[in-house]
Protein backbone atom coordinates (compact mmCIF):
# COMPACT_ATOMS: atom_id res chain seq x y z
CA UNK A 1 0.00 0.00 0.00
CA UNK A 2 1.49 3.37 -0.93
CA UNK A 3 1.70 6.08 1.72
CA UNK A 4 -0.64 8.70 0.27
CA UNK A 5 -3.55 6.52 -0.71
CA UNK A 6 -6.08 6.26 2.11
CA UNK A 7 -7.06 2.73 3.01
CA UNK A 8 -10.56 1.58 2.24
CA UNK A 9 -10.99 0.42 5.81
CA UNK A 10 -9.03 1.15 8.97
CA UNK A 11 -9.87 -0.65 12.17
CA UNK A 12 -8.03 -0.01 15.39
CA UNK A 13 -8.60 -1.94 18.62
CA UNK A 14 -12.03 -3.38 17.83
CA UNK A 15 -13.96 -5.12 20.61
CA UNK A 16 -17.29 -6.94 20.40
CA UNK A 17 -18.84 -7.82 23.75
CA UNK A 18 -21.92 -9.74 24.80
CA UNK A 19 -23.37 -9.57 28.28
CA UNK A 20 -24.26 -13.14 29.31
CA UNK A 21 -25.54 -14.84 32.46
CA UNK A 22 -22.00 -15.57 33.50
CA UNK A 23 -20.63 -12.09 32.84
CA UNK A 24 -19.31 -10.24 29.82
CA UNK A 25 -18.20 -12.43 26.90
CA UNK A 26 -15.62 -10.82 24.61
CA UNK A 27 -16.13 -12.27 21.14
CA UNK A 28 -13.59 -9.90 19.53
CA UNK A 29 -10.74 -8.56 21.64
CA UNK A 30 -8.75 -5.67 20.27
CA UNK A 31 -8.46 -6.48 16.59
CA UNK A 32 -6.71 -3.99 14.30
CA UNK A 33 -6.32 -4.17 10.55
CA UNK A 34 -6.56 -2.16 7.39
CA UNK A 35 -7.92 -3.05 3.99
CA UNK A 36 -6.79 -1.73 0.63
CA UNK A 37 -7.89 -2.69 -2.85
CA UNK A 38 -7.04 -6.29 -2.16
CA UNK A 39 -8.26 -9.69 -1.02
CA UNK A 40 -7.83 -9.98 2.74
CA UNK A 41 -8.48 -13.44 4.14
CA UNK A 42 -9.59 -14.11 7.71
CA UNK A 43 -9.16 -17.66 8.95
CA UNK A 44 -9.38 -19.19 12.40
CA UNK A 45 -11.32 -21.77 14.29
CA UNK A 46 -15.03 -21.79 14.89
CA UNK A 47 -16.02 -19.16 17.44
CA UNK A 48 -12.80 -17.18 17.05
CA UNK A 49 -14.72 -14.03 16.12
CA UNK A 50 -14.43 -13.89 12.33
CA UNK A 51 -18.11 -13.25 11.61
CA UNK A 52 -18.42 -10.79 14.48
CA UNK A 53 -15.47 -8.80 13.11
CA UNK A 54 -17.22 -8.58 9.73
CA UNK A 55 -20.59 -7.71 11.20
CA UNK A 56 -19.06 -5.09 13.51
CA UNK A 57 -17.79 -3.18 10.47
CA UNK A 58 -21.39 -2.85 9.32
CA UNK A 59 -22.53 -2.22 12.88
CA UNK A 60 -24.74 -5.27 12.58
CA UNK A 61 -24.13 -6.71 16.04
CA UNK A 62 -27.46 -7.57 17.62
CA UNK A 63 -28.41 -6.05 20.95
CA UNK A 64 -27.40 -6.48 23.73
CA UNK A 65 -24.03 -6.91 21.99
CA UNK A 66 -21.66 -3.92 22.12
CA UNK A 67 -19.11 -2.70 19.55
CA UNK A 68 -16.18 -0.56 20.69
CA UNK A 69 -13.09 0.61 18.84
CA UNK A 70 -10.50 3.36 18.97
CA UNK A 71 -11.16 3.80 15.29
CA UNK A 72 -13.30 2.21 12.59
CA UNK A 73 -13.11 4.11 9.33
CA UNK A 74 -14.39 3.70 5.80
CA UNK A 75 -12.20 5.71 3.39
CA UNK A 76 -11.39 8.07 6.20
CA UNK A 77 -15.02 8.47 7.37
CA UNK A 78 -15.73 7.49 10.93
CA UNK A 79 -18.25 4.65 11.00
CA UNK A 80 -18.78 4.66 14.76
CA UNK A 81 -20.28 8.14 14.88
CA UNK A 82 -22.72 7.57 12.03
CA UNK A 83 -26.42 7.53 12.85
CA UNK A 84 -28.44 4.39 12.19
CA UNK A 85 -29.95 6.17 9.16
CA UNK A 86 -26.50 6.96 7.78
CA UNK A 87 -25.39 3.37 8.36
CA UNK A 88 -28.32 2.18 6.24
CA UNK A 89 -26.81 4.07 3.32
CA UNK A 90 -23.47 2.41 3.95
CA UNK A 91 -24.87 -1.11 4.09
CA UNK A 92 -25.37 -2.72 0.74
CA UNK A 93 -24.36 0.32 -1.25
CA UNK A 94 -20.83 0.85 0.03
CA UNK A 95 -20.15 -2.25 2.12
CA UNK A 96 -22.00 -5.47 1.31
CA UNK A 97 -21.83 -8.63 3.31
CA UNK A 98 -22.50 -12.16 2.11
CA UNK A 99 -23.73 -13.81 5.28
CA UNK A 100 -22.57 -17.22 6.43
CA UNK A 101 -26.10 -18.69 6.43
CA UNK A 102 -27.46 -17.61 3.07
CA UNK A 103 -30.85 -19.25 3.34
CA UNK A 104 -31.42 -17.73 6.74
CA UNK A 105 -30.50 -14.31 5.42
CA UNK A 106 -32.82 -14.47 2.41
CA UNK A 107 -36.48 -13.57 2.75
CA UNK A 108 -38.37 -16.88 2.63
CA UNK A 109 -41.60 -15.44 1.23
CA UNK A 110 -40.14 -13.36 -1.58
CA UNK A 111 -38.91 -14.73 -4.92
CA UNK A 112 -35.20 -14.73 -5.64
CA UNK A 113 -35.69 -12.34 -8.55
CA UNK A 114 -37.61 -9.80 -6.47
CA UNK A 115 -34.94 -9.89 -3.78
CA UNK A 116 -32.07 -9.21 -6.15
CA UNK A 117 -34.07 -6.49 -7.92
CA UNK A 118 -34.83 -4.87 -4.58
CA UNK A 119 -31.18 -4.96 -3.50
CA UNK A 120 -30.20 -3.37 -6.77
CA UNK A 121 -32.88 -0.67 -6.99
CA UNK A 122 -32.45 0.45 -3.40
CA UNK A 123 -29.13 1.85 -4.41
CA UNK A 124 -29.25 2.43 -8.12
CA UNK A 125 -32.69 4.07 -8.60
CA UNK A 126 -33.19 1.82 -11.60
CA UNK A 127 -36.34 1.20 -13.61
CA UNK A 128 -38.02 -2.15 -13.09
CA UNK A 129 -36.78 -3.31 -16.46
CA UNK A 130 -33.15 -2.39 -15.73
CA UNK A 131 -33.38 -4.07 -12.35
CA UNK A 132 -34.68 -7.24 -13.93
CA UNK A 133 -31.93 -7.23 -16.53
CA UNK A 134 -29.35 -6.70 -13.82
CA UNK A 135 -30.79 -9.52 -11.69
CA UNK A 136 -30.70 -11.95 -14.62
CA UNK A 137 -27.19 -10.84 -15.50
CA UNK A 138 -26.02 -11.45 -11.93
CA UNK A 139 -27.64 -14.89 -11.75
CA UNK A 140 -25.87 -15.88 -14.93
CA UNK A 141 -22.60 -14.44 -13.67
CA UNK A 142 -22.69 -16.71 -10.59
CA UNK A 143 -23.17 -19.65 -12.99
CA UNK A 144 -26.79 -20.44 -12.12
CA UNK A 145 -27.77 -22.98 -14.75
CA UNK A 146 -31.43 -22.05 -15.26
CA UNK A 147 -31.69 -18.37 -14.31
CA UNK A 148 -35.28 -18.03 -15.57
CA UNK A 149 -36.59 -20.64 -13.17
CA UNK A 150 -34.44 -19.44 -10.28
CA UNK A 151 -35.63 -15.85 -10.82
CA UNK A 152 -39.20 -17.00 -10.11
CA UNK A 153 -38.28 -19.46 -7.34
CA UNK A 154 -38.30 -19.10 -3.55
CA UNK A 155 -35.27 -19.65 -1.29
CA UNK A 156 -36.43 -23.09 -0.07
CA UNK A 157 -36.38 -24.31 -3.66
CA UNK A 158 -32.64 -23.67 -3.92
CA UNK A 159 -29.89 -26.18 -3.22
CA UNK A 160 -27.30 -25.15 -0.60
CA UNK A 161 -24.83 -23.91 -3.16
CA UNK A 162 -27.49 -22.15 -5.23
CA UNK A 163 -28.55 -20.23 -2.10
CA UNK A 164 -24.98 -19.12 -1.62
CA UNK A 165 -24.67 -17.97 -5.21
CA UNK A 166 -27.97 -16.09 -5.04
CA UNK A 167 -26.70 -14.28 -1.95
CA UNK A 168 -23.49 -13.37 -3.76
CA UNK A 169 -25.44 -12.14 -6.80
CA UNK A 170 -27.59 -10.01 -4.53
CA UNK A 171 -24.66 -8.48 -2.68
CA UNK A 172 -22.68 -7.72 -5.82
CA UNK A 173 -25.62 -6.20 -7.73
CA UNK A 174 -25.29 -2.73 -6.14
CA UNK A 175 -21.55 -2.56 -6.95
CA UNK A 176 -20.22 -2.14 -3.42
CA UNK A 177 -16.83 -0.57 -2.66
CA UNK A 178 -16.20 -3.29 -0.11
CA UNK A 179 -17.45 -6.83 0.03
CA UNK A 180 -17.31 -8.87 3.21
CA UNK A 181 -17.81 -12.48 2.19
CA UNK A 182 -18.39 -14.81 5.14
CA UNK A 183 -17.77 -18.40 4.04
CA UNK A 184 -19.23 -17.49 0.65
CA UNK A 185 -18.28 -20.67 -1.16
CA UNK A 186 -18.44 -23.32 1.57
CA UNK A 187 -21.38 -25.08 -0.14
CA UNK A 188 -20.02 -24.94 -3.67
CA UNK A 189 -18.31 -27.72 -5.54
CA UNK A 190 -14.73 -26.87 -6.38
CA UNK A 191 -15.46 -26.15 -10.02
CA UNK A 192 -18.33 -23.69 -9.47
CA UNK A 193 -16.34 -22.24 -6.58
CA UNK A 194 -13.52 -21.33 -8.91
CA UNK A 195 -15.90 -19.54 -11.26
CA UNK A 196 -17.57 -17.58 -8.47
CA UNK A 197 -14.21 -16.57 -7.00
CA UNK A 198 -13.05 -15.28 -10.34
CA UNK A 199 -15.99 -12.83 -10.35
CA UNK A 200 -14.86 -11.37 -7.04
CA UNK A 201 -11.28 -11.43 -8.23
CA UNK A 202 -12.18 -9.39 -11.27
CA UNK A 203 -14.02 -6.80 -9.16
CA UNK A 204 -10.91 -6.36 -7.03
CA UNK A 205 -8.54 -6.12 -9.99
CA UNK A 206 -10.69 -4.08 -12.34
CA UNK A 207 -12.87 -1.97 -10.07
CA UNK A 208 -10.61 -1.72 -7.04
CA UNK A 209 -13.13 -3.30 -4.71
CA UNK A 210 -11.82 -4.30 -1.29
CA UNK A 211 -12.61 -7.86 -0.30
CA UNK A 212 -12.67 -9.39 3.16
CA UNK A 213 -12.83 -13.12 2.64
CA UNK A 214 -13.72 -15.19 5.70
CA UNK A 215 -13.11 -18.88 5.25
CA UNK A 216 -12.19 -22.16 6.89
CA UNK A 217 -10.53 -23.35 3.74
CA UNK A 218 -6.84 -22.68 4.29
CA UNK A 219 -5.75 -23.96 0.89
CA UNK A 220 -8.29 -21.80 -0.82
CA UNK A 221 -7.35 -18.66 1.13
CA UNK A 222 -3.73 -19.34 0.42
CA UNK A 223 -4.26 -19.55 -3.34
CA UNK A 224 -6.92 -16.83 -3.62
CA UNK A 225 -6.11 -14.01 -1.16
CA UNK A 226 -3.28 -11.48 -0.90
CA UNK A 227 -2.94 -11.35 2.89
CA UNK A 228 -4.36 -13.37 5.77
CA UNK A 229 -5.27 -12.62 9.36
CA UNK A 230 -5.35 -15.68 11.59
CA UNK A 231 -7.75 -15.32 14.49
CA UNK A 232 -7.92 -17.18 17.77
CA UNK A 233 -10.24 -16.45 20.69
CA UNK A 234 -11.17 -13.00 19.42
CA UNK A 235 -7.62 -11.91 18.60
CA UNK A 236 -5.34 -11.87 15.60
CA UNK A 237 -2.50 -14.23 16.48
CA UNK A 238 -0.60 -13.97 13.21
CA UNK A 239 -0.75 -12.23 9.84
CA UNK A 240 1.09 -13.19 6.70
CA UNK A 241 1.13 -13.09 2.95
CA UNK A 242 -1.44 -15.56 1.71
CA UNK A 243 0.97 -17.44 -0.50
CA UNK A 244 3.21 -17.91 2.55
CA UNK A 245 0.40 -19.32 4.71
CA UNK A 246 1.86 -22.80 4.53
CA UNK A 247 5.05 -21.48 6.09
CA UNK A 248 3.20 -19.79 8.97
CA UNK A 249 5.00 -20.00 12.30
CA UNK A 250 2.44 -19.71 15.05
CA UNK A 251 1.75 -23.13 16.60
CA UNK A 252 -1.97 -22.50 16.27
CA UNK A 253 -1.72 -21.86 12.53
CA UNK A 254 0.54 -24.89 12.18
CA UNK A 255 -2.05 -26.93 14.07
CA UNK A 256 -4.78 -25.82 11.69
CA UNK A 257 -2.67 -26.68 8.66
CA UNK A 258 -1.82 -30.10 10.07
CA UNK A 259 -5.43 -31.03 10.76
CA UNK A 260 -6.37 -30.94 7.06
CA UNK A 261 -7.11 -34.25 5.37
CA UNK A 262 -5.18 -34.64 2.12
CA UNK A 263 -6.16 -36.51 -0.97
CA UNK A 264 -2.57 -37.33 -1.82
CA UNK A 265 -1.54 -38.42 1.69
CA UNK A 266 -4.13 -40.64 3.35
CA UNK A 267 -3.98 -40.95 7.14
CA UNK A 268 -5.88 -43.07 9.62
CA UNK A 269 -6.47 -40.28 12.07
CA UNK A 270 -6.49 -36.55 11.59
CA UNK A 271 -4.37 -34.44 13.86
CA UNK A 272 -6.35 -32.41 16.35
CA UNK A 273 -5.27 -29.06 17.69
CA UNK A 274 -3.82 -28.97 21.19
CA UNK A 275 -4.67 -25.56 22.50
CA UNK A 276 -2.36 -23.47 24.66
CA UNK A 277 -3.74 -20.82 27.02
CA UNK A 278 -0.84 -18.56 26.15
CA UNK A 279 -2.36 -18.07 22.67
CA UNK A 280 -5.41 -16.54 24.27
CA UNK A 281 -3.46 -14.10 26.40
CA UNK A 282 -0.95 -12.73 23.90
CA UNK A 283 -1.86 -9.31 22.52
CA UNK A 284 -3.41 -9.04 19.07
CA UNK A 285 -0.86 -8.83 16.30
CA UNK A 286 -0.80 -5.60 14.32
CA UNK A 287 0.79 -5.55 10.93
CA UNK A 288 4.05 -3.77 10.49
CA UNK A 289 4.05 -3.47 6.70
Amino acid sequence: MSEQMPNLVDVDDLWVKFPTRTGMFDAVRGVSFSLGKERLGIVGESGSGKSMTGRALLRLIRKPGIVEAKQMKLMGEDLLSKTEQEMRDVRGQRISMVMQDPKFSLNPVMTIGDQIMEAYSLHAKATKRDAKDKAMEMLKAVTIRDPDRVFRAYPHEMSGGMGQRVMIAMMLAPDPEILIADEPTSALDVSVQGQVLSIMDRLVEERGMGLIFISHDLNLVSSFCDRVLIMYAGRVVETCRADKLHEAQHPYTRGLLNSLPRLDQPRDRLEVLKRDDAWRDAASVVETS
Binding site: F104, M162, S191, L197, L260, L263, E271
Partner: protein
Protein backbone atom coordinates in the same frame (compact mmCIF):
# COMPACT_ATOMS: atom_id res chain seq x y z
CA UNK B 1 -26.63 -57.10 3.46
CA UNK B 2 -26.96 -53.69 1.99
CA UNK B 3 -27.62 -50.66 4.14
CA UNK B 4 -28.86 -48.43 1.36
CA UNK B 5 -29.97 -49.64 -2.03
CA UNK B 6 -31.29 -47.23 -4.61
CA UNK B 7 -32.42 -48.29 -8.04
CA UNK B 8 -33.52 -46.02 -10.87
CA UNK B 9 -34.48 -43.20 -8.57
CA UNK B 10 -36.17 -40.18 -10.13
CA UNK B 11 -37.13 -37.11 -8.13
CA UNK B 12 -38.84 -34.05 -9.55
CA UNK B 13 -40.32 -30.80 -8.26
CA UNK B 14 -43.02 -28.52 -9.67
CA UNK B 15 -44.62 -28.72 -13.08
CA UNK B 16 -44.90 -26.97 -16.41
CA UNK B 17 -42.03 -24.61 -17.19
CA UNK B 18 -40.91 -24.71 -13.55
CA UNK B 19 -40.53 -28.48 -13.40
CA UNK B 20 -37.11 -29.55 -12.15
CA UNK B 21 -35.84 -33.08 -12.64
CA UNK B 22 -33.58 -33.03 -9.64
CA UNK B 23 -32.55 -36.69 -9.72
CA UNK B 24 -32.61 -38.72 -12.92
CA UNK B 25 -32.39 -42.50 -12.94
CA UNK B 26 -29.87 -42.75 -10.11
CA UNK B 27 -28.74 -46.12 -8.78
CA UNK B 28 -26.32 -46.84 -5.98
CA UNK B 29 -25.70 -49.48 -3.36
CA UNK B 30 -24.08 -49.04 0.03
CA UNK B 31 -23.23 -52.17 1.99
CA UNK B 32 -24.12 -52.23 5.64
CA UNK B 33 -21.18 -50.80 7.58
CA UNK B 34 -19.69 -49.05 4.55
CA UNK B 35 -19.09 -45.37 4.04
CA UNK B 36 -20.19 -43.93 0.74
CA UNK B 37 -19.45 -40.45 -0.61
CA UNK B 38 -21.60 -38.33 -2.86
CA UNK B 39 -19.89 -35.45 -4.64
CA UNK B 40 -20.60 -33.33 -7.68
CA UNK B 41 -21.91 -30.13 -9.08
CA UNK B 42 -23.86 -27.69 -6.93
CA UNK B 43 -27.55 -28.28 -7.66
CA UNK B 44 -26.96 -31.75 -9.11
CA UNK B 45 -29.33 -33.56 -6.71
CA UNK B 46 -27.08 -34.78 -3.88
CA UNK B 47 -29.18 -33.39 -1.02
CA UNK B 48 -32.33 -34.44 -2.85
CA UNK B 49 -31.26 -38.11 -2.76
CA UNK B 50 -30.74 -37.93 1.02
CA UNK B 51 -34.02 -36.08 1.47
CA UNK B 52 -35.84 -38.69 -0.61
CA UNK B 53 -34.52 -41.43 1.69
CA UNK B 54 -35.79 -39.60 4.77
CA UNK B 55 -39.21 -39.07 3.19
CA UNK B 56 -38.90 -35.33 2.72
CA UNK B 57 -39.78 -35.22 -0.97
CA UNK B 58 -43.17 -36.48 -2.06
CA UNK B 59 -42.63 -36.85 -5.79
CA UNK B 60 -40.32 -39.71 -6.69
CA UNK B 61 -40.26 -43.01 -8.52
CA UNK B 62 -37.95 -46.01 -8.45
CA UNK B 63 -36.91 -48.35 -5.68
CA UNK B 64 -35.29 -47.60 -2.33
CA UNK B 65 -34.44 -50.23 0.28
CA UNK B 66 -32.94 -48.71 3.41
CA UNK B 67 -32.08 -50.41 6.73
CA UNK B 68 -33.96 -53.48 5.59
CA UNK B 69 -37.18 -51.64 4.69
CA UNK B 70 -38.49 -51.12 1.21
CA UNK B 71 -39.58 -47.49 1.23
CA UNK B 72 -42.99 -46.29 0.11
CA UNK B 73 -44.75 -42.99 0.63
CA UNK B 74 -44.34 -42.89 4.40
CA UNK B 75 -41.70 -44.06 6.87
CA UNK B 76 -42.38 -46.56 9.65
CA UNK B 77 -42.35 -45.45 13.28
CA UNK B 78 -39.01 -47.12 13.92
CA UNK B 79 -37.36 -45.87 10.71
CA UNK B 80 -35.90 -42.79 12.36
CA UNK B 81 -34.44 -44.87 15.19
CA UNK B 82 -32.34 -46.48 12.50
CA UNK B 83 -31.78 -43.68 10.02
CA UNK B 84 -30.84 -40.11 10.89
CA UNK B 85 -29.79 -37.17 8.80
CA UNK B 86 -27.53 -34.18 9.44
CA UNK B 87 -28.74 -31.35 7.23
CA UNK B 88 -26.66 -29.07 5.09
CA UNK B 89 -28.05 -25.90 6.57
CA UNK B 90 -27.46 -25.92 10.34
CA UNK B 91 -29.31 -22.67 10.97
CA UNK B 92 -32.46 -23.73 9.17
CA UNK B 93 -32.50 -27.15 10.81
CA UNK B 94 -32.56 -25.80 14.37
CA UNK B 95 -35.64 -24.13 15.80
CA UNK B 96 -34.69 -20.51 16.60
CA UNK B 97 -36.60 -20.43 19.91
CA UNK B 98 -35.39 -23.75 21.25
CA UNK B 99 -32.26 -23.89 23.38
CA UNK B 100 -29.63 -26.55 22.78
CA UNK B 101 -30.95 -28.33 25.85
CA UNK B 102 -34.51 -28.36 24.50
CA UNK B 103 -33.43 -29.61 21.08
CA UNK B 104 -31.49 -32.55 22.50
CA UNK B 105 -33.93 -33.37 25.32
CA UNK B 106 -36.87 -33.44 22.94
CA UNK B 107 -35.10 -35.73 20.52
CA UNK B 108 -34.08 -38.09 23.33
CA UNK B 109 -37.61 -38.05 24.71
CA UNK B 110 -39.09 -38.72 21.28
CA UNK B 111 -36.93 -41.79 20.92
CA UNK B 112 -37.95 -43.16 24.29
CA UNK B 113 -34.96 -42.39 26.51
CA UNK B 114 -35.58 -41.44 30.13
CA UNK B 115 -32.15 -40.62 31.66
CA UNK B 116 -32.18 -37.44 29.61
CA UNK B 117 -30.40 -35.25 32.13
CA UNK B 118 -27.36 -37.51 31.99
CA UNK B 119 -27.38 -37.99 28.23
CA UNK B 120 -27.50 -34.34 27.16
CA UNK B 121 -24.07 -33.42 28.59
CA UNK B 122 -22.62 -36.64 27.14
CA UNK B 123 -23.94 -35.82 23.68
CA UNK B 124 -22.48 -32.32 23.91
CA UNK B 125 -19.15 -33.73 25.00
CA UNK B 126 -19.21 -36.20 22.09
CA UNK B 127 -19.30 -33.33 19.61
CA UNK B 128 -16.76 -31.23 21.47
CA UNK B 129 -19.08 -28.66 23.02
CA UNK B 130 -18.72 -27.83 26.72
CA UNK B 131 -21.76 -27.86 28.98
CA UNK B 132 -21.68 -24.05 28.99
CA UNK B 133 -23.43 -24.28 25.62
CA UNK B 134 -26.33 -26.29 26.98
CA UNK B 135 -28.70 -23.40 27.56
CA UNK B 136 -27.80 -21.26 24.59
CA UNK B 137 -30.10 -20.49 21.67
CA UNK B 138 -29.07 -20.92 18.01
CA UNK B 139 -28.42 -17.19 17.50
CA UNK B 140 -25.91 -17.26 20.35
CA UNK B 141 -23.79 -19.87 18.63
CA UNK B 142 -21.26 -19.53 15.85
CA UNK B 143 -21.89 -21.40 12.57
CA UNK B 144 -19.69 -24.32 13.53
CA UNK B 145 -21.17 -24.60 17.01
CA UNK B 146 -24.66 -24.85 15.50
CA UNK B 147 -23.53 -27.65 13.20
CA UNK B 148 -22.16 -29.59 16.14
CA UNK B 149 -25.54 -29.33 17.88
CA UNK B 150 -27.15 -30.73 14.72
CA UNK B 151 -24.72 -33.66 14.73
CA UNK B 152 -25.38 -34.30 18.43
CA UNK B 153 -29.10 -34.39 17.68
CA UNK B 154 -28.64 -36.95 14.89
CA UNK B 155 -26.50 -39.15 17.15
CA UNK B 156 -29.04 -39.03 20.00
CA UNK B 157 -31.22 -42.01 18.92
CA UNK B 158 -28.11 -44.15 18.18
CA UNK B 159 -28.94 -44.70 14.51
CA UNK B 160 -27.47 -47.44 12.28
CA UNK B 161 -27.37 -45.30 9.19
CA UNK B 162 -26.29 -41.68 9.16
CA UNK B 163 -27.02 -39.50 6.15
CA UNK B 164 -24.56 -36.62 6.35
CA UNK B 165 -25.12 -33.60 4.12
CA UNK B 166 -21.97 -31.47 4.16
CA UNK B 167 -21.50 -32.22 7.86
CA UNK B 168 -18.29 -30.25 8.22
CA UNK B 169 -18.42 -27.54 5.59
CA UNK B 170 -19.42 -24.98 8.25
CA UNK B 171 -16.66 -26.11 10.59
CA UNK B 172 -13.10 -24.95 10.95
CA UNK B 173 -10.49 -27.48 9.99
CA UNK B 174 -9.58 -28.37 13.55
CA UNK B 175 -13.16 -29.03 14.62
CA UNK B 176 -13.61 -30.79 11.30
CA UNK B 177 -10.74 -33.10 12.23
CA UNK B 178 -12.39 -33.75 15.62
CA UNK B 179 -15.78 -34.48 14.06
CA UNK B 180 -14.33 -36.69 11.33
CA UNK B 181 -12.32 -38.65 13.90
CA UNK B 182 -15.49 -38.95 15.97
CA UNK B 183 -17.45 -40.21 12.97
CA UNK B 184 -14.72 -42.73 12.17
CA UNK B 185 -14.72 -43.97 15.80
CA UNK B 186 -18.50 -44.18 15.98
CA UNK B 187 -18.63 -46.11 12.77
CA UNK B 188 -16.14 -48.61 14.10
CA UNK B 189 -17.79 -48.93 17.52
CA UNK B 190 -21.37 -49.11 16.35
CA UNK B 191 -20.89 -50.55 12.86
CA UNK B 192 -22.61 -47.54 11.35
CA UNK B 193 -23.29 -46.99 7.67
CA UNK B 194 -22.62 -43.54 6.25
CA UNK B 195 -23.78 -41.78 3.16
CA UNK B 196 -21.92 -38.51 3.08
CA UNK B 197 -22.30 -35.54 0.77
CA UNK B 198 -19.34 -33.21 0.60
CA UNK B 199 -17.78 -30.88 -1.90
CA UNK B 200 -14.43 -31.35 -0.16
CA UNK B 201 -12.81 -34.21 -2.02
CA UNK B 202 -10.10 -34.63 0.62
CA UNK B 203 -12.79 -35.10 3.28
CA UNK B 204 -14.62 -37.66 1.16
CA UNK B 205 -11.31 -39.35 0.42
CA UNK B 206 -10.60 -39.58 4.13
CA UNK B 207 -14.02 -40.92 5.08
CA UNK B 208 -15.34 -43.06 2.23
CA UNK B 209 -14.40 -46.20 0.36
CA UNK B 210 -16.61 -45.52 -2.62
CA UNK B 211 -17.64 -42.27 -4.21
CA UNK B 212 -20.44 -41.41 -6.62
CA UNK B 213 -20.09 -38.30 -8.76
CA UNK B 214 -23.21 -36.38 -9.78
CA UNK B 215 -23.88 -33.82 -12.46
CA UNK B 216 -27.24 -32.51 -13.78
CA UNK B 217 -29.24 -34.94 -11.63
CA UNK B 218 -27.39 -38.02 -12.83
CA UNK B 219 -24.79 -40.25 -11.26
CA UNK B 220 -22.04 -39.98 -13.86
CA UNK B 221 -19.46 -42.20 -12.20
CA UNK B 222 -18.96 -44.45 -9.20
CA UNK B 223 -15.33 -44.93 -8.27
CA UNK B 224 -13.23 -46.31 -5.46
CA UNK B 225 -11.26 -44.00 -3.21
CA UNK B 226 -8.05 -45.42 -4.68
CA UNK B 227 -9.12 -44.39 -8.17
CA UNK B 228 -9.93 -40.93 -6.89
CA UNK B 229 -6.60 -40.58 -5.07
CA UNK B 230 -4.76 -41.64 -8.15
CA UNK B 231 -6.66 -38.88 -10.02
CA UNK B 232 -7.65 -41.46 -12.62
CA UNK B 233 -11.39 -41.20 -13.11
CA UNK B 234 -13.19 -42.32 -16.26
CA UNK B 235 -15.61 -39.47 -16.67
CA UNK B 236 -14.71 -36.04 -18.10
CA UNK B 237 -16.65 -34.10 -15.50
CA UNK B 238 -14.98 -36.05 -12.68
CA UNK B 239 -11.60 -35.21 -14.18
CA UNK B 240 -12.52 -31.55 -14.26
CA UNK B 241 -13.69 -31.70 -10.63
CA UNK B 242 -10.49 -33.38 -9.45
CA UNK B 243 -8.35 -30.82 -11.24
CA UNK B 244 -10.33 -27.92 -9.76
CA UNK B 245 -9.72 -29.33 -6.28
CA UNK B 246 -6.04 -28.44 -6.50
CA UNK B 247 -6.72 -24.80 -5.53
CA UNK B 248 -7.77 -21.49 -7.05
CA UNK B 249 -5.92 -20.56 -10.19
CA UNK B 250 -6.27 -16.96 -11.26
CA UNK B 251 -7.65 -16.80 -14.81
CA UNK B 252 -5.40 -15.08 -17.36
CA UNK B 253 -8.02 -12.39 -17.91
CA UNK B 254 -7.78 -11.27 -14.28
CA UNK B 255 -4.03 -11.17 -13.89
Amino acid sequence: MSGVEIENLNVWFGDGEDRVDAVIDASLRVESGASFGLVGESGSGKSTILRAITGLVPTWSGKMVVAGEELGDSRSATFFNKVQMVFQDPYASLHPRHSVDQVLSETLHLHGYDDIDKRVPKLLEDVGLGTSFRFRYPHQLSGGQRQRVAIARALAPKPEILLLDEPTSALDVSVQAEILNLLVDLREERKLTYVMVSHDLAVVGHMCEQIAVMQHGKVVEIMSVEEMRAMRPQNEYTKHLLTSSLGYSRPESVR
